[in-house]
Amino acid sequence: MRSEFDLETAIDKYSDTVKRICYMYLKNSYDTEDIFQNVFFKYALSDKSFESAEYEKAWIIRVTINACKDLSRNYFRKNTVPLESAELIPAEEKDNLEYVRSAVLKLPKKYKDVVYLYYFEGYNAFEIAEITGISENTVYTRLARARKILKEKLGGDFDE
């Protein structure tokens, strides 16, 4: 098991990444808390030694995506209405890019993680394939389709 110091360092380092992935998949802050605890509990118990910080980050992203998908597959959650709205960003922090986030959130589920990993995290298709467990060709296909949808919605505001 990792030490409290290691855990705290990891939480500080990767919380924003985990929160962004949760934002794309989940509907309320209770689920986000669950995911945070699941991901970092797995990290705390894992004896895995990472070759570099990049590997560690990729591991966190993969575990978070899987945890979010598992949670959203849950029958009970699928069939209940969340107590809160889909919004996880406090109203006062909303900026003029809300429409961009909204367009990404409205993408089909399978395109969201590819778009996030490519545009936000800056991974290439090969790395995305490694993280998500899909083939490189599928990554390209999903990216192309997601781009098409985003261009339709965002028009000239969507810069690749």
Binding site: F41, L45, R101
Partner: protein
């Protein structure tokens, strides 16, 4: 910077969420680490139950409870389990060519192709143990007991290579072996040997093949 990156930059985990996560994870992890004994006890209990059931199954399937001793043209002792299957074959002279293991007892005896003056005896495991301690088959042991009862003094080492009939002859006991050999010509069906189980008398069961 692309707009997606700019848009998602705004999403950040607040300190309260980080702190809550750290506390919850540490509490959960400490609980898990502080109760390894529970897991060890569960694992040991499971291992004991598994071993006990495995040993019971082994004893039921592979532990002989009765011994069938054949003395005559072949000298062999078959260990038979609770399911009436042969689980051990001990030959005292030439090995038996047929594989008798896990055959039904009657089937194994039939495969031995015995002649009519061969002795087939059913013995308890106690009798077999006694016979083994003297280095004799059950048939030899029984003949030896009869010889001792009749007052003969025999060395067990000397009778190891004798058939039960020969031991009885040596002790001067009138035996029906000779009669049996006379009746050889009337030998008929060799089937029909039934497992009579362990005889209560003297702890020795005895069954002579009836070929008439």
């Amino acid at each position: 910077m692309n707009k997606i990156k700019s848009a998602f930059e705004e999403i950040k985990a607040d300190d309260a969420l980080k702190e809550k996560t750290l506390n919850a994870v540490m509490e959960k992890a400490n609980k898990k680490v502080s109760f390894p004994l529970k897991h060890i006890i569960a694992a040991v209990s499971a291992a004991v139950i598994l071993a006990a059931s495995g040993m019971t199954a082994w004893a039921y399937c592979f532990q002989p409870v009765d011994y069938v001793s054949v003395d005559g043209s072949v000298n062999v002792e078959l260990g038979v389990n609770r399911l009436d299957r042969v689980v051990s074959v001990e030959c005292y002279d030439e090995p038996v060519s047929t594989d008798l293991k896990m055959k039904k007892c009657d089937e194994a005896i039939r495969l031995l192709e015995l002649s009519e003056n061969d002795n087939v005896e059913y013995n308890s495991s106690e009798t077999a143990e006694e016979a083994k301690s003297l280095g004799l088959t059950c048939g030899q042991f029984k003949a030896y007991c009869q010889a001792v009862e009749a007052g003969a003094v025999l060395d067990t080492d000397e009778i190891k290579n004798l058939s039960p009939c020969e031991i009885r002859e040596l002790a001067g006991i009138k035996d029906d072996c000779a009669q049996s050999s006379d009746e050889k010509t009337t030998a008929g069906n060799t089937q029909g040997v039934k497992h009579h189980g362990t005889s209560k008398a003297n702890g020795h069961g005895h069954h002579r093949r009836n070929n008439k």
